[in-house]
């Protein structure tokens, strides 16, 4: 049947993999379109994963966990904003510093509170439930449609739907709202925006706030939906994959989301290929298959799959001219 076919399960896991990257990439999109390089997606994701898993476990309520994750991620984003915007520090260095600090501190705190080697306890019932669309049972026996409606479109958690709904919303905010216009202006030419009366620093801080909120969902998704616990360094480069999806998508929401789906697809392919005999090649060792997303990232960055132009003022702190 269709369910047994490899491609079917690859597509379903693509849908399930993509939200981690979509949330983070949309977060990065706000930060970078406003002119702040966001290398700390990884750190915000990890911090939110740890805090949301811990709070969800302690309160046995996944929604409170998600809310707490938003809190910590926003705090980190504003700290990043303070260093990058107010202090006019090196944004790359600030991002790397946050990633390393969070990687160490999340382990220390997880060990301190739960004593399980830097892991948080299994969430059990406190994970998010899958939403079963109405009428799934009625079409379950129809070939293709049953799978398409019940497994591919339906049967995911609320966060998956939020991720996909976010893409057109971000598109609207960036291209059709006043805030989006200002955001793009301060990211392309802050001095012109400043002359036109836009408050550059405030706009960038608002962008960082959006980035903090959105990035927290990808951490919460990792911890509460995908694994059901927090594990040391569980973000595993996803923040950088999201950043690459941004490069691939030329910093545009719709194309970036397609980049995220592509990475989600390669991630799903990787799991499918594990232990499978390929004709002529034989079994490919798992450690080599693990490299796939990273190698794809380098190929994308090398510009062999898309030619992209970054926001012009990216990474440059704004100094008001006299």
């Amino acid at each position: 049947m269709f369910e047994d076919f490899h491609l079917a399960s690859i597509l379903v896991s693509t849908i399930r993999n993509a939200p981690v990257l979509i949330f983070a990439a949309m977060a990065g999109l706000f930060a970078e379109r406003s002119g702040v390089v966001d290398l700390a997606l990884e750190g915000k994701m990890l911090a939110s994963a740890f805090v949301s898993a811990s709070v969800a476990y302690v309160t046995q309520n996944p929604w409170l966990g998600i809310a707490a994750g938003v809190g910590i991620s926003v705090v980190i984003a504003l700290l990043q904003g303070y260093v990058s915007i107010t202090q006019k520090g090196n944004q790359l260095v600030a991002g790397i510093a946050i990633n390393i600090a969070v990687s160490g501190l999340s382990f220390v705190l997880a060990q301190f509170f739960f004593g399980q080697g830097g892991r948080t306890p299994d969430l059990g019932q406190a994970r998010l439930f899958d939403i079963i669309l109405p009428g799934t049972d009625a079409v379950a026996n129809i070939p293709f449609i049953g799978w398409f409606y019940g497994k591919l479109i339906g049967g995911h958690t609320a966060l998956v739907y939020l991720a996909f709904a976010l893409v057109p919303l971000v598109h609207w905010v960036i291209y059709h709202s006043r805030f989006g216009l200002r955001l793009r202006a301060v990211g392309e030419n802050p001095h012109a925006a400043d002359a036109a009366g836009v408050h550059v620093e405030r706009t960038r801080f608002l962008a960082m706030l959006c980035a903090g909120v959105l990035c927290s969902f990808s951490g919460a998704y990792l911890a509460i939906v995908q694994s059901g616990f927090f594990l040391r360094d569980m973000s595993a480069g996803n923040g950088f994959l999201a950043l690459t999806a941004l490069v691939f998508g030329n910093w545009r929401p719709l194309y970036t989301a397609m980049g995220c789906l592509m990475f989600g697809f390669f991630g799903a392919l990787q799991i499918q290929m594990e232990g499978v005999e390929l004709p002529g090649i034989g079994k490919i060792p798992g450690s080599l298959i693990q490299m796939i997303p990273y190698v794809v990232t380098v190929i994308v960055l090398a510009g062999f799959m898309a030619k992209s132009v970054a926001p012009r003022a990216i990474g440059i702190p704004f100094v008001k001219s006299r």
């Binding site: 790397i96 510093a97 501190l105 382990f107 690459t244 960055l301």
Partner: protein, 363 residues
């Protein structure tokens, strides 16, 4: 407020020290919140890392590795490149070194095999830095992200190579066989018995030599001038006739080679075999060291010794205080990068105001 308004002693000494103290203060606060006494912890740390010859030996042993990774990150920074990939380059450097030793350690004497193995580590490290460098120079791919990806790729690749080719038959431990004793670096405890059983070896002296060569090359040679010009303003350097593409690639090859050489101390000086994940974050510590030491040889030396002490003392501290695991020092490392790197001029306005108040004779 730019640092140009401050006298050199302020930017070179006062600001880094204030930044470092701020990072340690935040760390002390976290240790306090974990229910431990920060001062008592500091006492244990200093006692273990500095106050006895054996502990000091270990501190300097770790520092020897960190000097090389710190130099690796620093020389790339001189060219305006932020090389996050020293970790992966060091890992691959270890493979180059091991390949030479496993092939030759039964046939060649020590004086021949040690330089050859070091050459192997430098070549492999440089090779791993080449592609990110080329992509940055020719295709504008951001070197920060490509080098991070190369760290992940290196981890998977080395896992594959060690498990598939290097584990001796009949063994389970993911590591190569033990090197023959001809390929072991002489330990300094042979000359200074007071050091006891510490792995401190001649690579510490090599690291000091590397610092001197780095200082002379960067500040006293025309190539070093071109390198710094590229880092300060690549358009101006290009206009003055420097080939930016070539400069980026060469700086990154040297950076990779230095990261590769960092494996010499860890493998030939101490463990004498190649194990899974042996760099253990030394490449990332190199970033903190380069930023804290402001890419200056003396700064790199002092920061490397500080990090050596943090690792050595932190290990003993974690045995006594279970709430302060060694991972705490990854957090402190992040704080140091934040305060000494991203917020390096945080105190500059205050210092400038203070200096203005001094009578002009004292300036």
């Amino acid at each position: 407020m730019s640092t140009n308004d401050l006298p050199r002693w302020a930017t070179a000494v006062v600001l880094p020290v204030l930044n470092l103290l701020s990072a340690l203060l935040v760390a002390a606060l976290v240790i306090y919140l974990l229910g431990e006494n920060p001062l008592e912890s500091l006492g244990i740390l200093v006692n273990s890392a500095v106050m006895n010859p054996e502990g000091l030996g270990y501190t300097l042993f770790y520092a020897s590795t960190f000097i090389f990774t710190g130099l690796s990150v620093s020389i790339a920074m001189q060219a305006g490149l932020f090389n996050i990939g020293s970790e992966g380059q060091m890992y691959l450097g270890g493979l180059g070194l091991t390949t030479v030793i496993l092939a030759l350690d039964s046939s060649l004497p020590g004086w021949a095999i040690i330089p050859l193995a070091m050459l192997g580590s430098a070549l492999f490290g440089a090779a791993w830095a080449w592609l990110p460098a080329y992509l940055q120079a020719r295709r504008g791919s951001h070197i920060v992200v490509t080098t991070i990806m190369f760290n992940f790729i290196a981890a998977s690749l080395m896992n594959f190579i060690i498990v598939t080719y290097l584990i001796p038959s009949g063994q389970q431990n993911p590591a190569s066989r033990l090197f023959a004793e001809t390929a072991w670096l002489p330990r300094l405890s042979g000359w200074f018995p007071i050091l006891g059983d510490t792995p401190l070896n001649i690579s510490f002296l090599l690291a000091l030599l590397a610092l001197v060569i780095y200082g002379v090359t960067v500040w006293r040679s025309s190539w070093g001038y071109q390198l710094r010009a590229t880092g300060l303003n690549k358009h101006a350097a290009h206009y003055a006739g420097v080939s930016i593409t070539k400069m980026i690639v060469v700086a990154m090859l040297i950076s990779g080679a230095l990261a590769g050489l960092a494996s010499v101390n860890a493998l030939m000086g101490s463990t004498h075999y190649l194990a899974l994940n042996f760099p253990a974050g030394a490449g990332f510590i190199g970033i903190a060291i380069a930023l804290m030491g402001r890419q200056h040889p003396v700064g790199i030396l002092l920061s490397s010794i500080l990090f050596g002490a943090l690792i050595q003392g932190g290990f003993d501290l974690s045995l006594e205080k279970s709430n302060i695991p060694p991972e705490t020092f990854i957090f402190i490392q992040g704080l140091i990068i934040l305060f000494c790197g991203a917020m390096e001029n945080f105190y500059a306005p205050a210092i400038a105001a203070l200096i203005k108040r001094l009578p002009s004779r004292a300036r």
